[in-house]
């Protein structure tokens, strides 16, 4: 729009006095995904070029300026990670003009804000440990059904049959005893009985971003944060009415070899989520419901899922915020494990039938219900002080049906677990060079179960575990360096017995440099044995699993030396050397009496390199990422056993990603390589071990409120397993369409 047109109009507007108009619109990335908290400013030429108004976009990427002076205006928008975009217009009196701006990605990334690494808001490059961020647009690009499918592609993170590993922390223990703590908006959400994680309790479209903190986090978070913390941060509730409908559908490839065929139709998946919210200045609320069905890609792999989530915010005063969150999800699914070995089914002369399960486990099903309720009060009485208090209740209930199981064990295992948590936290910034975070936290888990009863005869029992803690951490700026020091004391009580105390100190520092920063940290980590690990009494894969009430907590020291680098405009990188010395790691052990029992291993060492490089070579439309992790994970030598590799830890983990976006179209690909385990599973010693080589292809199209994504996961249809006799997903086509208003 040329100025020659604007000047007469501006002149006319001035003649008309203080006449005004409205400008509103949205700020999105080049793929059309809304960008919340983007900076928007309006420049006028009246009286010289000057900024006359600024604003930030809301959670839906929308902005609005009322009462702008008529005439020539420039609307500019910017956001971290994107290049600025602008548009000009001539605003006439009484006009209401929409200006939508699309920001192309930028290689020069300013440091985003994170909230997990220090239990307070800080810039990413001020964290003393490695942190990976998954933004909402990255999650949307993945076209996933569950949030763990997106987290699985984060650098240095690997899921093994649903169990999350950060730097090889957890291995695979049938979902028991996660060494990664899950937070939902900062509230711990690991199960009260198994200590594992229900990833499907929060629908994908409710997650705004994911923060993955690598390395020991016990100094702030206590047990379960042994290997890292994953924080799912849900979307803010915007003003006004907003709605979202997200539909998914897809199909699974049939087995690539005729001898493995197990059904005469193509399996499909489909699902729908509907969300709505309404907000005014002081009060906002939202509700989401959804359902999903999958035929699965294996025999006995059908799954159905239902969920409902709700969230409400109340701001009685600007400095006070009260938040309520609740979610409930129910799953019913067949158990497609283990796959059929020789003679375990109609094996058709094959050593393995990976798409079929053994006849003895036909009919096995699980029903799993879970939900949580949290209340959070945050108050910021001054710029130097913020405090919060929260209470939470997490409930899980599952029933595993084994129709063919023989006595003395019954045909069903079940567990009902409650985890009640409270926390009070204070963040103080007495001056610009110091921040202190301190708090107290308590959690009680109670379990009523016939599988975690400790009774090998199959009886039912009840167990409780209490965890009470106090923590404090201070950050001090010393010249250019930020030094952090803190500690947490945890007290554990099992079944009302005596207290067991753990102190987890941590110290770290960040040194900024001209083109990035150095960081270093060392901290103590611990994890209390879950009630399931202590008291499990059942059978698994024809073996008796016996309890071990005398299990002690595992502990270790974790250190990291990291370097982030932004040397040139189109390239940035991050590298970290990490070293964890662990003692009394809890792992399932095959006893000489052919029983499985959780025991404390003597010592273990996990050493490695974590590297990620992001580049926008050639053009800003093309962004590429390389992430590599080298891991040396060993059980250390004892008097009776030589040093040997830890189970289920690949030495090499590589992720390559590339995304190309033009206007409203985007295409991308991810390749994940994970080397074969160095040590075979002790239960299936003769089974082959495989590397994982998975290529995902994806494409997207956005048109206003409609966002369509297509993904072909495991496009090469590479057939492999990571957990014993558990087939990883085959080639899967997924179509996701989301409509937002």
């Amino acid at each position: 729009m040329k100025a020659s047109f604007a000047l007469p109009l501006l002149f006319a507007a001035r003649l008309a006095g203080q006449e005004t108009g409205i400008v509103y619109g949205s700020v999105t990335d080049s793929s059309g995904t809304a960008l919340p908290r983007a900076f928007v400013r309006v420049t006028s030429r009246a009286g010289g070029v000057r900024v006359i108004a600024t604003a930030s976009t809301d959670a839906g990427g929308a902005y609005r300026f009322d009462s702008l002076p008529v005439g020539w205006l420039r609307i500019e928008a910017g956001s971290i990670g994107y290049r600025q975009a602008s548009d000009t217009l001539i605003l006439r009196a009484g006009d209401s003009t929409r200006v939508d701006l699309h920001l192309p990605p930028s290689a020069v990334l300013l440091s985003p804000t994170i909230v997990t690494a220090a239990k307070r808001s800080q810039l990413l490059d001020q964290a003393i440990t490695s942190v990976v961020l998954l933004e909402q647009r990255q999650i949307a690009q993945q076209a996933v059904n569950r949030i763990d499918e997106a987290v699985d592609r984060a650098p240095g993170v690997q899921f093994i049959s649903g169990q999350v590993n950060i730097r090889g922390s957890s291995g695979f223990v049938q979902g028991l005893g996660s060494r990664v703590l899950l937070l939902v908006d900062g509230v711990p959400a690991n199960q009260g009985d198994r200590g594992g994680i229900n990833w499907d309790v929060i629908p994908v479209d409710r997650v705004e971003r994911v923060e993955v903190v690598k390395g020991a986090g016990s100094a702030l978070y206590g047990s379960s944060a042994f290997g890292g913390v994953v924080n799912l941060i849900t979307r803010e509730l915007p003003e006004g009415w907003h709605g979202l409908m997200r539909a998914t559908m897809g199909a699974y490839a049939n087995p690539p070899h005729e001898v493995w065929r197990f059904r005469d139709f193509t399996g499909i998946q489909d699902g729908v989520d509907v969300a709505g919210s309404y907000g005014r200045d002081a009060l906002r609320g939202g509700l989401s419901i959804g359902a999903r069905h999958s035929d699965g890609y294996r025999q006995q792999d059908q799954a159905d899922h239902w969920q409902v989530t709700g969230k409400g915010d109340w701001k009685p005063r600007p400095a006070i915020r009260v938040s309520l969150s609740a979610a409930w999800a129910s799953d019913q699914y067949g158990v497609p494990e283990p796959w059929c070995g020789i003679g375990d089914c109609d094996d058709r002369g094959e050593a393995n039938q990976p798409f079929k399960i053994d006849t003895a486990n036909l009919g096995n099903r699980t029903r799993s219900d879970k939900g949580y309720l949290t209340a959070l009060v945050t108050r910021t009485p001054s710029q130097r002080l913020t405090w919060l208090a929260r209470a939470s209740w997490l409930r899980t209930r599952f029933t595993d049906a084994y129709p063919k199981r023989q006595p003395p064990l019954g045909n069903a295992d079940y567990a009902i677990a409650n985890r009640y948590g409270v926390e009070g936290r204070l963040v103080s910034q007495p001056d610009s060079s110091r921040v202190v975070t301190a708090g107290v936290e308590g959690a009680i888990a109670d379990v009523w179960s016939n599988i975690f009863s400790g009774d090998t005869a199959g009886g039912t029992g009840r167990h409780t575990q209490g965890e009470y803690a106090a923590y404090a951490e201070a950050e001090q700026i010393l010249g250019p360096t930020r030094v952090t020091i803190g500690a947490r004391s945890d007290f554990l009580v099992v079944d009302g017995g005596g207290f067991t105390a753990f102190v987890s100190p941590r110290v770290g520092a960040v040194w900024p440099t001209g083109n990035g920063s150095w960081r270093a940290s060392v901290g103590r980590a611990f994890r209390a044995a879950s009630l399931a690990e202590r008291f499990v009494a059942t059978s698994a894969l024809s073996f008796q699993v016996i309890p071990n009430p005398s299990l002690t907590s595992e502990e270790g020291w974790s250190t990291e030396l990291g370097r982030s680098w932004r040397g040139v405009s189109w390239l940035r990188g991050d590298a970290a050397l990490f070293w964890t010395e662990a003692r009394r790691l809890i792992e399932p052990v095959f006893t000489p009496a052919a029983q499985i029992q959780f025991q404390n291993l003597q010592r273990a060492r996990l050493v490695g390199l974590d590297l990620s490089v992001t580049a926008t070579p050639v053009t800003s439309r093309l962004s590429t990422t390389l992430a590599y992790q080298y891991l040396h994970a060993r059980e250390l030598q004892t008097d009776t056993a030589p040093q040997r590799p830890l189970l289920f830890r690949p030495r090499h983990l590589l992720t390559l990603s590339a995304d190309y976006a033009v206007d409203r179209y985007s295409v991308g690909a991810d390749f994940r390589y994970s080397s074969r385990y160095e040590r075979g599973d002790p239960l299936f010693t003769q089974d082959e071990r495989f590397s994982a080589q998975v290529l995902d292809l994806r494409a997207g199209w956005t048109n206003g409120s409609l966002d369509v994504r297509v993904k072909v996961a495991n496009a090469l249809n590479y057939i492999y397993n990571l957990a014993p006799r558990t087939l990883e997903p085959v080639r899967t086509l997924t179509l996701v369409a989301a409509y937002t208003r």
Partner: protein, 172 residues
């Protein structure tokens, strides 16, 4: 820059070609001549176990002297650690084409095996049975790869050499 991109593509392609993943693996591989099947274990592994061998006899041995006419030589042995015994275990017994009247698992105690020590060191631990009459040994006709020769190794019910010689009509 072009070289960087080509290098990246080369890395992806080379990694993608690193392996084939899980592929069909016939119990009896193509071109194999002999019998294949599974053995299932029962009972605790006896003390002083040296090995458990799978062997075949073209004709049921009529005397202790015929004990060493088994095929193949050396005979394959079974994995005996507790995990391997917990599930059916695959075995492959390479044999020339022909008819075999006794396919069995022979438990051997630690010690040097000679015709004189055979009765104290060897036990029949299980054998392939006639599906139509499981009290009798099954006859196996080998013509190339012969599958489905499955049987039980029962450590709680083993028999010494002297149990069979002289052979009893009611026994295999």
């Amino acid at each position: 820059m072009t070289a960087t991109r080509l290098g990246l593509v080369a890395v992806v392609l080379s990694l993608a070609g690193c392996g084939d993943g899980l592929t069909p693996h016939p119990i009896c591989p193509a071109g194999f001549s002999g019998v294949c099947g599974t053995v299932t274990f029962r009972g605790a592994l006896p003390d002083s176990t040296d090995a458990v061998y799978v062997v075949a006899y073209a004709a049921f041995p009529e005397s202790a002297a015929a004990l060493f006419t088994f095929q193949p030589f050396p005979p394959p042995s079974l994995a005996l650690d507790s995990a391997a015994r917990a599930a059916p275990q695959l075995y492959q017994l390479p044999l020339p084409n022909g008819t075999y009247h006794w396919v069995l698992a022979a438990w051997k105690k630690v010690g040097t095996l000679t015709p004189a020590s055979a009765d104290s060191l060897l036990r029949e631990a299980g054998y392939y049975r006639d599906p139509a009459d499981t009290t009798k040994a099954g006859v196996v006709a080998v013509s190339g790869a012969t599958t489905g020769i499955d049987f039980l190794v029962d450590f709680t019910n083993m028999h010494p050499v002297s149990y069979y010689f002289p052979p009893l009509a009611s026994r295999p």
